[in-house]
C-alpha cells in the first residue's frame, strides 16, 4: 500500500526524511495532515445504518455509500463520481487510482477519517513536488465534499467499480435545496 508516490525531488529537510523513514518502515496507516502526524484508528465499518434525506450515515454518523443488490447507488456516490472526474482526476487519476503526482485515493480513503478528508481538501497540503491545492473556496468542490467523500469511500471499499455507476437513486429534494443555496443559485 502506498499513500504517496515518491516525489520527483528528494526530500531536503530532516522532518520529511523522518516521515519518509517511518513510511517505508511499513507504518502504512500513518497519515500526515497539515504537518501533524495522526495515527489513524482502525477503519470504521462503512455500512449504512441510517439515512437522512437520501444521505446515508455509518454508525458514527459519517456519510457513507449505499449500493443496492441490483447495483443502484445512492445519489451522493453518483454525484461524487461526476464531481471527482471534473475536479480531482487530473492529479489523482481516473477512478481514484492515483498518478505520479498524487496518491491513489482508493487507498487513502481506506484509513482516512471523514474529518481528516475534509481538512485536507479544504486546506490543502504540500509534500515536496506533490501539491494538494486548498479547495475550500471552490464551490464546485466545497459544496460537494460529502459527495466526493462518499464516492471515494465506496471506491476504497470496492463497493463501486471503475465504471460510471449505471443506476442511481433520484436526486433528493433536500439535496437540491442545499446545492442551490451553496452554489448561489435560486
Amino acid at each position: 500500500m502506498e499513500l504517496f508516490h515518491a516525489p520527483v525531488r528528494l526530500p531536503t529537510n530532516v522532518e520529511e526524511m523522518l516521515l519518509r523513514t517511518i513510511w517505508f518502515a511499513g507504518a502504512a496507516i500513518i497519515i500526515v495532515v497539515s504537518g501533524r502526524i495522526a495515527i489513524a484508528e482502525a477503519p470504521v465499518d462503512p455500512a449504512a445504518v441510517k439515512s437522512e434525506d437520501g444521505k446515508y450515515l455509518d454508525k458514527e454518523g459519517s456519510p457513507t455509500f449505499k449500493v443496492a443488490s441490483d447495483g443502484t447507488v445512492d445519489w451522493y456516490t453518483y454525484s461524487g463520481y461526476r464531481r471527482y472526474h471534473s475536479e480531482c482526476h487530473v492529479c489523482h487519476g481516473p477512478d481514484g487510482m492515483g498518478s505520479t503526482y498524487a496518491p491513489a485515493l482508493t487507498d487513502s480513503l481506506k484509513v482516512m477519517s471523514y474529518g481528516d478528508f475534509m481538512g485536507v481538501v479544504a486546506s490543502g497540503r504540500q509534500n515536496g513536488n506533490s501539491v494538494m491545492p486548498a479547495l475550500g473556496d471552490n464551490p464546485n468542490v466545497a459544496c460537494y465534499m460529502d459527495d466526493l467523500y462518499v464516492y471515494l469511500r465506496a471506491r476504497a471499499n470496492d463497493a463501486v467499480g471503475r465504471a460510471r455507476p449505471a443506476k442511481k437513486e433520484d436526486k433528493p429534494e433536500a439535496y437540491t435545496q442545499t446545492e442551490n443555496s451553496c452554489m448561489g443559485k435560486k
Partner: protein, 600 residues
C-alpha cells in the same frame, strides 16, 4: 555544410540587426532537409521531409541507432529540433531542455531545467505535457508549464530573457510550442478547462517585449478584428462580433484557448491557428455562438490583425477544440492553382479552405462514424452557410443538464486531437492519426472560481458500437474530402505523422510501436516497440551522411489518462478481441528518445 551552418549560427547576433532576417534565415534553414528547425519541420506544417535514403524498399531493415532517456515520466508530446550538429530535446514538466551534440556521440552540451512552482501541476487539464521548443535568432524558445516564455542561448543554454505569458494562479498554463516569425516569437496559451480568456501573443525576439496580443473572445480591440476588413466566409464580421455572442461578460472567462500549432505563409504574411472550446463544458450555462471559440484565425504576423476567421463549431456542446494544426499546400483544384489550408478538426470534419480568402471549399467527415452532425451547410445563399447541422439526439444542450447524452461520435478527444498530420506533395495525400472513440456526455452546473477547474461535464469514452479498435491511421484527399486508405489501430493514434520523399510515412502508437507504412497503399513495412507509448511526433534528419528517424516515447497526455479511464464496461476488455483492454496492459510511463537508421 556543417561548418557553414555553424558559422551562420555564430554570426546571428550581427545579422539580426536587419529585422526580417530571422524569417528569411528560418525559411532557408527549413528548406535544408538535413535539419528540422521548427516544430512541424516547415512553416506550412507539412511534416514532410525530402530525405529519401530510407525508402519503401529498405525501411524494413531499419534499426535502432541510439536512445536517450529524458529522466522524466508522464506524457511526452512534440519532438526534438535538429540544427546542424545540435539536437534540442524537451520534456514535460519540469520542462527540461537538453542540447545534444550529434557529431560527438550525442553528448549533452547543456541542460536547462527551470525551477517552477509545482502548484501549476493541478491546473494542467490533460497531463503535464509540452509540445516542444522553437528556434530563431540563435536562441531556443521554451514555453514552460507556468507560462514563462524563456529564450535560451542555443550554444550555452544560458537564459537570454524570459517573460510571463499568463497567470497560472488563474489556471493559465503553457503546453504549446512557440513559432518564430520574422523578428517575433509567437505563442498561444492553455486553460480552457479553467475559464481563461485565451490569446496568441507575439514577443520581440531580442528583448521579449510584447508586440501584440490577440484574444479569442472579447471586444474588437482585444480580439484584434476589424469590423469591416476582417471577414468570415467572405462577409465582414461586423462590430462586436464576439461579445454579442456571449451572455453578459461571460467572454471574460470564455476559454477559446490556443494550445495547438501555428503555421505561417510568408508570401502573404499570414499566421494561421485555431482556438479551443468555450468554457464551461456545460453548454446550457453559456448561451450564444461563443465567438470566436472553435475558430480558424488568419492574422497578419506583424500586427496581429485578423484577415479572416471561420468558426467551425458554434456554441460547442462536446468540447471539440479547434486547435489542431493548419496544413498549407499549393494544389490544383477545380482546374486552378489554389493556395489551400487543410485542417482536421476535433469535431470529426476535415476542412479545406482557400487560405488567402478564407473561402470554405470542403468539409467532410474523416471518420465515417462521426454522427453529431449531418454535415456542413455548403449553400452560399443559405442563412446557415458554413454551419454544421446538429442532430438533436446528440445535442447535449437539448438533452440538458444532469442528463446523459449517449453514443456521441467522436468523443471529446475528437476524431483527431493535437497530434499533427503530415502532407506529402508527392502523393498529394494527408496522413492523419485519428481517434475512433465515442462518448456519453453529461453536463451539470458549475461555478467559476479563478484558478479552479471550470469543467461542468463528465463523460465516458468507448469505441464505436460494434467495433473494438479505438484508432485509425488514414490517408486523406483534401480536394474530394475522401479517405483513400485506413489502417486500424487498437488504440487512438496520438502521435504526429512524418511523410518523406522515400515514399514512407511514419507514426507512433499508444502501445509504443514506431510504424512505417507505404505512402501509397498504407501497407505496414516496419514496426518496433519503443520503451513506452508514443504520443510524440516523428522527426527525421541527416547527420554524417546518414538519415535518421527520431521519436519521443513516454505515454500520457489526455489519451494516456483518458483511454484507461471512463469505460462503461472495463471488464469487456477481457474478451477475445481485447479492444477495450486497458493501455496499462501494454505500456508504462517513462520518457525516452529512440533514433532509427539503416544498418551501415
Amino acid at each position: 555544410m556543417r561548418k557553414v551552418l555553424l558559422a551562420t549560427l555564430g554570426s546571428i547576433a550581427v545579422l539580426t540587426a536587419g529585422g526580417a532576417w530571422a524569417n528569411d534565415e528560418l525559411i532557408k534553414m527549413s528548406q535544408n532537409p538535413k535539419d528540422w528547425v521548427m516544430p512541424a519541420g516547415d512553416y506550412a506544417n507539412t511534416r514532410y521531409s525530402k530525405l529519401n535514403q530510407i525508402n519503401a524498399a529498405n525501411v524494413g531493415k531499419l534499426q535502432v541507432a541510439w536512445t536517450f532517456s529524458t529522466g522524466v515520466l508522464r506524457g511526452h508530446e512534440g519532438g526534438p529540433l535538429i540544427i546542424g550538429n545540435m539536437m534540442y530535446v524537451h520534456t514535460p514538466f519540469p520542462n527540461k531542455v537538453y542540447a545534444l551534440d550529434l557529431s560527438k556521440d550525442n553528448q549533452i552540451v547543456w541542460k536547462y531545467e527551470p525551477k517552477q512552482d509545482p502548484n501549476v501541476i493541478p491546473v494542467m487539464c490533460c497531463d503535464t505535457v509540452n509540445r516542444g521548443v522553437a528556434y530563431g535568432d540563435g536562441k531556443i524558445f521554451l514555453h514552460q508549464a507556468d507560462t514563462t516564455l524563456v529564450a535560451l542561448d542555443a550554444k550555452t543554454g544560458k537564459v537570454a530573457w524570459s517573460v510571463k505569458n499568463g497567470d497560472p494562479g488563474k489556471g493559465a498554463t503553457g503546453t504549446s510550442a512557440p513559432l518564430v516569425i520574422k523578428d517575433k516569437v509567437l505563442v498561444g496559451i492553455s486553460g480552457g478547462e479553467f475559464g481563461v480568456q485565451c490569446h496568441v501573443t507575439a514577443y520581440d525576439l531580442k528583448s521579449g517585449k510584447q508586440a501584440w496580443r490577440a484574444f479569442s473572445e472579447g471586444p474588437d480591440d482585444q480580439i484584434m478584428v476589424d469590423p469591416v476588413n476582417t471577414t468570415e466566409l467572405g462577409k465582414p464580421v461586423g462590430k462586436d462580433s464576439s461579445i454579442k455572442t456571449w451572455q453578459g461578460d461571460q467572454w471574460k472567462i470564455g476559454g477559446g484557448c490556443t494550445w495547438g500549432w501555428l503555421s505561417y505563409d510568408p508570401a502573404v504574411n499570414l499566421v494561421y491557428y485555431g482556438s479551443g472550446n468555450p468554457s464551461t463544458w456545460n453548454p446550457k450555462q453559456r448561451p450564444g455562438d461563443n465567438k470566436w471559440s472553435m475558430t480558424i484565425f488568419a492574422r497578419n504576423a506583424d500586427t496581429g490583425m485578423a484577415k479572416w476567421v471561420y468558426q467551425m463549431t458554434p456554441h460547442d456542446e462536446w468540447d471539440y477544440d479547434g486547435v489542431n494544426e493548419m496544413i498549407l499546400s499549393d494544389q490544383q483544384m477545380g482546374g486552378a492553382e489554389r493556395k489551400l489550408l487543410t485542417h482536421f478538426d476535433r469535431n470529426g470534419l476535415g476542412y479545406t479552405l482557400d487560405r488567402i480568402t478564407g473561402e470554405l471549399l470542403v468539409a467532410e467527415k474523416y471518420d465515417p462514424k462521426v454522427n453529431w452532425t449531418s454535415g456542413v451547410d455548403m449553400n452560399k445563399a443559405s442563412p446557415t452557410y458554413g454551419r454544421p447541422k446538429v442532430l438533436d439526439q446528440y445535442s447535449t444542450e437539448k438533452t440538458g443538464e444532469d442528463k446523459n447524452t449517449k453514443g456521441i461520435c467522436p468523443a471529446a478527444l475528437g476524431t483527431k486531437d493535437e497530434q499533427p498530420a503530415a502532407y506529402s506533395p508527392d502523393t498529394q495525400l494527408f496522413y492523419v492519426p485519428t481517434n475512433h472513440v465515442c462518448m456519453d456526455y453529461e453536463p451539470f452546473k458549475v461555478s467559476y472560481t479563478a484558478g479552479q477547474p471550470y469543467v461542468g461535464a463528465t463523460l465516458s469514452m468507448y469505441p464505436p458500437p460494434g467495433e473494438t479498435h479505438m484508432g485509425n491511421f488514414i490517408a486523406w484527399d483534401n480536394k474530394t474530402g475522401k479517405i483513400v486508405w485506413s489502417n486500424k489501430e487498437q488504440f487512438s493514434v496520438w502521435s504526429g505523422a512524418l511523410a518523406t520523399a522515400g515514399g514512407v510515412v511514419f507514426y507512433g502508437t499508444l502501445e509504443g510501436y514506431l510504424k512505417a507504412v507505404d505512402a501509397k497503399s498504407g501497407k505496414e513495412l516496419y514496426k518496433f516497440k519503443t520503451p513506452s507509448g508514443i504520443i510524440g511526433n516523428v522527426t527525421t534528419y541527416e547527420q554524417g551522411g546518414r538519415q535518421y528517424v527520431a521519436v519521443l516515447s513516454g505515454v500520457g497526455g489526455w489519451a494516456g489518462i483518458g483511454l484507461a479511464a471512463g469505460l462503461t464496461d472495463p471488464t469487456a476488455g477481457l474478451g477475445a478481441v481485447g479492444g477495450y483492454a486497458a493501455l496499462s496492459n501494454y505500456t508504462a510511463l517513462g520518457g525516452s528518445l529512440t533514433v532509427f537508421a539503416l544498418p551501415q
